[in-house]
């Protein structure tokens, strides 16, 4: 009964996605979709022939890694500093979690309004007399390194990770920290010996989910990313919406690559955790 339940649940959740993957796989080799002309690996060849693909993939991985790392660090620091029992911990938790319901779209718009070369930051700098025109402001959006995009995505994902970090410390962290303290650990040692490991292990699944999401996110990316290198989600969407149906196959190749990034991150994490479990 219970076993059948697990199977049924897995089936119901996964089927639409699997159909999508199967569709993309078939469409990428010309067996389905518009402009399909029978089996052909031409879409794969031309997708990998385009130097934009690897540059875009690399850029998306960089942005996702940097944004995820930044958000994780911020969440750990805030949760550790404002752990239950410290002063103003309640207020800090509330404030940290507040931006959680904000949509990525709105986050992107805010990124433009605040970080752009004529954004609020630049206007503040102008008022302060540091710059005399927008061009004098460092380029934070549409920039080669994606600084603005990374900052916006990190800020958008931070509340989610902070929420989990707070509850991790409230659940298990406190007793463990007390134990460490009675064993003679002090201040920084408690953090590195107890707080950090507890947070790290508990946060990991959420961190992986954030990474997978950020690597494939479109809304904020299209508003803040440069046109070269073209981030993988942007390149995928561009191929998809190309007027010529010939590009559709390539779009499906890119969809599958995006899938590999997302699923790959999850699989790597699961494998690492399994090894960890065997080792201990």
């Amino acid at each position: 009964m219970i076993r059948r339940g697990a199977g049924l649940a897995a089936f119901l959740v996964a089927t639409p996605v699997l159909i999508g993957i199967a569709y993309s796989a078939l469409a990428s080799v010309g067996l389905l979709g518009p402009g399909s002309t029978g089996f052909s690996t031409a879409s794969w060849a031309s997708a990998f022939d385009d130097p934009q693909l690897l540059r875009g993939l690399g850029w998306s991985l960089w942005v996702a890694s940097a944004a995820t790392a930044l958000a994780t660090m911020a969440a750990v620091v805030v949760a550790a500093l404002f752990r239950p029992g410290t002063r103003s911990s309640g207020v800090a938790r509330l404030l940290a979690v507040m931006p959680l319901p904000l949509s990525h779209l709105a986050a992107g718009v805010l990124g433009v309004l605040v970080l752009g070369q004529s954004g609020l930051l630049a206007r503040g700098a102008f008022m302060a007399g540091w710059i005399d025109q927008p061009a004098a402001m460092p380029a934070l959006i549409y920039d080669q390194w994606g600084i603005g995009l990374i900052v916006v995505l990190a800020w958008k994902e931070f509340p989610f990770l902070a929420l989990i970090a707070f509850s991790l410390l409230a659940d298990r962290g406190r007793a463990l920290e007390e134990a460490a303290r009675t064993l003679g650990a002090r201040g920084r040692a408690v953090f590195w010996a107890v707080t950090w490991p507890v947070l790290w292990r508990g946060l990991m699944p959420a961190v992986v989910a954030v990474f997978a999401f950020v690597a494939g996110t479109y809304e904020a990316t299209v508003l803040l990313a440069p046109s070269d290198p073209l981030a993988l989600p942007l390149l995928t969407m561009e191929r998809y919406t190309d007027v010529g149906v010939a590009k559709r196959g390539e779009a499906h190749v890119l969809v599958l690559i995006g899938l590999v990034v997302g699923i790959g991150a999850v699989a790597l994490h699961e494998a690492a955790r399994a090894r960890d479990r065997r080792a201990t």
Partner: protein, 411 residues
């Protein structure tokens, strides 16, 4: 009307799935209505509801439709107007899906042009011919190639024009009192003012490149009459060569380009760049009124010629109320509606009527129409207007620009 990639994705997705489907013959009853005498059409339309599917992204257009058109339709023809959002590829997809599911139509009237019209005709999803039978059709400026041809396609009575727009650059008269007025002058200006010019990556930006291509490739006539790869290769080389020559003067050294025209407007309005651009020469009027562009913004036509196109109304084959839809389309063609639509404080959408054919007092009223200081004269609009050509030029140019200029790969 701009299609946008967010909206195009699902549309094309859907299109992808239905491409292989068999075509079902449209119902003959709807076709018959299009052939009935006008009085009978009016009689059938009375007391009915017309569902109009159109782009709803501009508040001034919405206000014109909801607060000016709708009450008059109800008062004069007893027609209740219901407006639902939808545009471009999304509408094609919707109609295909409805036909597939055998569902009754959910729209009676569609706002379409160019590629959308082509897809709908290809799929045989439009009712017709009916447009030539509208009483007000006799005032249409049939001499204008912009109106008579929709991206080189013959409307053939399957769509009725109701407005036209011309591509224009936008500049700030306060910042650039003496703007360049030709492609050559623009090149020189870019070299002299580095970092102050760019175009977007979307449809509008690519249309700008196409305008450059015609200008540098010997005029639009070279490209008319279907796609020609030799003409294209020459045109492409000249436009990409021009861009490469002036690239060092582009915003961010031409290393990156804004995603869409909204981003371009934002950069322009905040003084990061000195030019924006638009498919519609009058967009600057409404955007200034809405406080989105500075009051000193002005449209600018290049002497080498700008692209113009008209927008149309079509009736889907599965419309429940084709008679009512025809009455609405006719009302929108009326001098009264065209004049109201033209007013800068309303929409500032170009009229499709030949004013010389209008009876008085309309001729006088059109002439007396106070022009917005931001608007261009009809003469210059007409002089620089060039028709759209085979869509393949657009596709190929977009593709080549992306692979070379945008990707920063030397050709």
């Amino acid at each position: 009307m701009r299609g946008w990639r967010w909206l195009q994705l699902p549309a094309l997705l859907c299109g992808a799935l239905v491409m292989a489907c068999d075509r079902v013959a449209p119902e003959p009853t709807s076709r018959a209505i299009a052939a009935q005498p006008w009085d009978s059409v009016l009689a059938q339309a009375r007391g009915s509801t017309v569902t109009w599917r159109m782009w709803r992204g501009d508040p001034s257009i919405n206000a014109f439709i909801d607060q000016w058109v709708a009450p008059r339709l109800l008062e004069r023809f007893g027609i209740t107007l219901e407006v639902v959002p939808g545009q471009g590829p999304g509408m094609v997809n919707l109609l295909v899906t409805e036909r597939e599911a055998g569902a009754r139509g959910s729209s009676d009237l569609l706002w379409i042009n160019g590629a959308t019209f082509a897809s709908l005709r290809r799929e045989d999803l439009l009712l017709g011919p009916w447009a030539d039978r509208l009483p007000n059709a006799r005032y249409i400026d049939t001499a204008s190639v912009i109106i008579a041809r929709d991206f080189e396609q013959d409307p053939g009575g399957y769509e009725s024009p109701w407005g036209q727009v011309e591509y224009a650059l936008i500049y700030d008269s306060a910042r650039v009192p003496d703007p360049p007025r030709s492609v050559a002058e623009l090149g020189a200006w870019i070299d002299a003012h580095p970092g102050r010019f760019t175009h977007d990556q979307s449809f509008s930006g690519m249309t700008f490149l196409k305008i450059l291509m015609y200008a540098l490739g010997g005029g639009v006539e070279r490209f008319q009459g279907g796609f020609d790869s030799t003409a294209y290769a020459a045109g492409r080389d000249s436009v990409l060569g021009w861009v490469t020559r002036h690239r060092a003067g582009f915003w961010r050294l031409g290393a990156t380009y804004p995603a869409g025209v909204a981003e371009l407007h934002r950069l322009f309005a905040n003084g990061e760049i000195d030019f924006s651009m638009s498919n519609n020469e009058n967009e600057v009027i409404s955007k200034v009124r809405q406080g989105i562009l500075p009051a000193t913004a002005r449209p600018l036509l290049l002497r080498d010629g700008m692209l113009a196109n008209a927008h149309y109304l079509g009736i889907p084959v599965n419309a429940r109320n084709p008679a009512g839809a025809m009455v609405v389309a006719d009302f929108l063609l009326s001098p009264e509606a065209q004049l109201e639509k033209l007013r800068p404080e309303v929409w500032a959408d170009g009229s499709v009527l030949d004013v010389s054919r209008l009876p008085e007092p309309w001729r006088g009223r059109f002439a007396a129409q106070a022009r917005d200081p931001h608007a261009l004269s009809p003469d210059s609009l007409r002089r620089y207007a060039r028709p759209e050509v085979d869509p393949e030029y657009h596709e190929r140019l977009t593709d080549d620009w992306r692979r070379t200029i945008r990707a920063n790969t030397p050709r």
